[in-house]
C-alpha cells in the first residue's frame, strides 16, 4: 500500500480538509502528502502538514500553476503518482478537487470514486447517495484508487511528524486557456460552506433580507447557505446554494430559515447531524427531517434566538 494525500492549500496555508484526509490515510500505514503550488508553498505548509503525521511531504512547484485551474496540477500529480507507484490517492471533494481527480484518473487509467464519506485501510470507500437515503461501499478495481473525500467526514486527529519537504519542479505543458481577469470572492471572515461545522441557511421566506440569518451565523461562527429560490432571486450567490444542484453539506448543525424543504434542497443537507428549521407553515416538508422545529416568523424567532444565545455566551 502506498497512500498519497492531495493537500489543499491557499498560498501555503493548508485548509481543514488536509488534516481530515491525512487522518483517514494514516489508517493504511505510511502516508505521503503531496502539495501542488507556486515556489515556496511547500516550505510554508510543512509545519502544518507535520502536525497530522505524514511520512513524506512532496511539493510540486511551478510559478505558473495558478494560471491554469486544474489541468497543470493534474499533469504534475499524475506523473508523480505513476513514478512513485502510488496505490491510493485521497483528494478533497471540492469543485476543484473533483476536476483534478477526474483528470488524474484518465491520465493514470485508474478508477475513481467521488464524494466518499469514509475510506477503510484497504481503500474501500463509503458513499452516501441520493441525499443520504442509501449508503454504498465501493472500490476501485483498476489502477490507482482515486477517491475524493467530502469535507467534514472525519474529525482531524493530530499526530506530530518531522519530515522535510522534497521539492520537485517538473516541466509542465501549459494549456491554451488564458485567464484575462480575476475577481476573488470576498471571504467576509465566514467559514467555507462545505467545511463549516454549523450552517445557517435562508430561503424564499427571508424575502431577500438575510440580515437575521447572517447575525445568527456570525454569532455561531457558521457559514451561510441558501435555497435555490434565494439564489435564483439573486439574494445570495450561487456558490452558497445547498441542494441537488448546489453544495452538499453535512455539518453538526443545520438551521433552515424560511425554507420549505423540497426534495432537491434536502438532498444537500439531509445528512447533517442535527437539523433545525424555522418556518411559518406548520405543514412545510422541512419539518419531516428536523430534530427541532419552530413554527413561526423567522423575523421574530431568529433575533430572539440570537440575543438569547448572545446573552448566555455573555
Amino acid at each position: 500500500m502506498s497512500t498519497f494525500v492531495f493537500i489543499d492549500h491557499i498560498d501555503g496555508a493548508i485548509t481543514k480538509t488536509a488534516g481530515e484526509l491525512l487522518t483517514i490515510a494514516r489508517r493504511a500505514g505510511e502516508v505521503t502528502a503531496v502539495l501542488v503550488g507556486t515556489p515556496g508553498d511547500g516550505t510554508k505548509a510543512a509545519a502544518a502538514i507535520n502536525s497530522f503525521g505524514a511520512n513524506k511531504i512532496i511539493a510540486i512547484e511551478d510559478s505558473a500553476i495558478n494560471d491554469h485551474p486544474s489541468a497543470l496540477v493534474a499533469q504534475g500529480l499524475a506523473d508523480l503518482l505513476l513514478e512513485k507507484g502510488a496505490t491510493t490517492l485521497l483528494i478533497p471533494s471540492t469543485a476543484r478537487g473533483k476536476e483534478i481527480a477526474a483528470r488524474v484518473a484518465v491520465r493514470t487509467n485508474s478508477g475513481i470514486i467521488t464524494d466518499a464519506v469514509d475510506v477503510t485501510a484497504d481503500s474501500i470507500a463509503t458513499q452516501s447517495i441520493f441525499g443520504g437515503s442509501a449508503v454504498v461501499h465501493s472500490k476501485v478495481s483498476k489502477g490507482i484508487a482515486i477517491i475524493t473525500v467530502r469535507p467534514n467526514s472525519v474529525e482531524p486527529e493530530s499526530k506530530p511528524s518531522t519530515c522535510d519537504v522534497e521539492v520537485v519542479s517538473p516541466k509542465l505543458t501549459p494549456t491554451k486557456v488564458l485567464i484575462s481577469n480575476r475577481e476573488p470572492a470576498k471571504r467576509g471572515g465566514r467559514p467555507e460552506l462545505t467545511e463549516a461545522s454549523i450552517v445557517v441557511s435562508g430561503g424564499r421566506g427571508t424575502n431577500g433580507d438575510f440580515a437575521p440569518v447572517e447575525a445568527l451565523a456570525d454569532l455561531l461562527g457558521a457559514a451561510v447557505g441558501a435555497s435555490r429560490a434565494a439564489t435564483d432571486a439573486g439574494w445570495y450567490p450561487h456558490s452558497h446554494q445547498v441542494g441537488q444542484t448546489g453544495k452538499t453539506v453535512s455539518p453538526s448543525l443545520y438551521i433552515a430559515c424560511g425554507i420549505s424543504g423540497a426534495i432537491q434542497h434536502r438532498a444537500g443537507m439531509q445528512t447533517s447531524k442535527v437539523i433545525v428549521a424555522i418556518n411559518k407553515d406548520p405543514e412545510a416538508p422541512i419539518f419531516e427531517v428536523t430534530d427541532f422545529g419552530v413554527v413561526g416568523d423567522l423575523f421574530a424567532v431568529l433575533p430572539q434566538a440570537t440575543s438569547a444565545i448572545a446573552a448566555r455566551k455573555g
Partner: protein, 264 residues
C-alpha cells in the same frame, strides 16, 4: 460552427431514487426519466450561441450526444424540441453498469466522430452527481476546458466564459475546439413550443452500438469497470423531532435546545 451538447437522461429529481438489489445499479425502471436538469442549460446555451452568431442560416448546427438505454431517446427528443438539430445515442446492453471512465471513453469516441468546434456539457448529473465527465473529456480528447461557466460568448474562433466558483469570478478564454461546462445560473432554458415538439418528431436520432464505435464490450460496462460497488444498504428515513409553535418564546426555546445539545 458545429456545436455538440452532451446530455444525460436521469431519474426525475422529484422522485425517490433507489438502487436495484441484484444489479447494485440505480433503478431506472421504476421512476420517471427526464433530461438532466443542468443539461437543459447547456442546450439553451448552444441555441443562444447559434442565435447570436447568425443562426442556422449561417451554417451553425447543434447535435446532442447521449449514452444510455434506448429510453434515453425521450430525453433527446426534449432537447430536439427545444431546437437542437439532431442527436446521437450510444446504446448497447454491454454498456450497462458503465462507470465514469467508460462513459467518458464512449462520449470521447462520439465527439471524435462528429468533430465539433464546441462541446457543451452540464456541470453535473442530478443522479450520480460526480461532476467529472467534462474534465475527463478534456483529458481524453486533449482539448482545453472551460468549466463552471456562468456566461459564455463565442467570437471568431475564441470562446470566452466567466467561471463562477467559490474562489470568485474569473474571465477566461480559449481557442476552439474547447469543452465548456455550464452552471445553472447561466440562462433560463426555453420551454419547447408546440411547433418545436412537432418538428422534433422528424429530427434524426442516430443510434450507435459499441461495434459502430469500434469499442470492445470487455472495455466498458460492468465487464470493464474501473470501479465496483461492493454492497449497499438503505438508510432509515430521518424522523421528525420536536416541533414548537412560536407564541412569543420560539426563539428562546430554540436557544435552549441548542444549549442542551451543546451546539451553542
Amino acid at each position: 460552427m458545429k456545436i455538440a451538447v452532451c446530455v444525460k437522461q436521469v431519474p426525475d429529481s422529484w422522485a425517490e431514487k433507489k438502487l436495484n438489489a441484484s444489479t447494485k445499479l440505480i433503478d431506472r425502471e421504476s421512476v420517471d426519466a427526464v433530461l438532466n436538469d443542468l443539461d437543459e442549460y447547456a442546450v439553451e446555451s448552444a441555441l443562444q450561441i447559434v442565435e447570436a452568431n447568425g443562426g442556422a442560416e449561417a451554417g451553425h448546427t447543434v447535435t446532442l450526444i447521449s449514452m444510455g438505454p434506448e429510453r434515453a431517446t425521450e430525453a433527446l427528443r426534449k432537447g430536439l424540441s427545444m431546437g437542437a438539430d439532431d442527436a446521437v445515442l450510444v446504446s448497447d446492453v454491454a454498456l450497462a453498469g458503465s462507470d465514469a471512465l467508460a462513459t467518458s471513453l464512449i462520449l470521447a469516441k462520439v465527439i471524435q466522430r462528429i468533430n465539433p468546434d464546441l462541446i457543451l456539457c452540464g456541470t453535473e448529473s442530478t443522479d450520480a452527481r460526480m461532476s467529472v465527465i467534462p474534465s475527463m473529456l478534456s483529458e481524453r480528447l486533449e482539448l482545453p476546458q472551460l468549466s463552471f461557466a456562468g456566461e459564455v460568448n463565442v467570437s471568431a474562433d475564441q470562446v470566452s466564459i466567466k467561471r463562477v466558483t467559490d474562489e470568485g469570478v474569473d474571465s477566461m478564454n480559449s481557442p476552439m475546439p474547447v469543452i465548456v461546462s455550464v452552471i445553472e445560473k447561466i440562462n433560463e432554458p426555453r420551454y419547447p413550443s408546440f411547433k418545436g415538439i412537432m418538428a422534433a418528431k422528424k429530427k434524426k436520432i442516430e443510434v450507435l452500438s459499441l461495434v459502430d464505435l469500434g469499442v470492445s464490450a470487455a472495455e466498458v460496462g460492468g465487464a470493464g469497470a474501473w470501479s465496483l460497488v461492493n454492497d449497499f444498504n438503505e438508510q432509515a428515513a430521518r424522523s421528525a423531532g420536536v416541533k414548537v409553535t412560536d407564541e412569543g418564546a420560539g426563539g428562546t426555546a430554540l436557544s435552549e435546545f441548542l444549549a442542551e445539545k451543546r451546539l451553542a
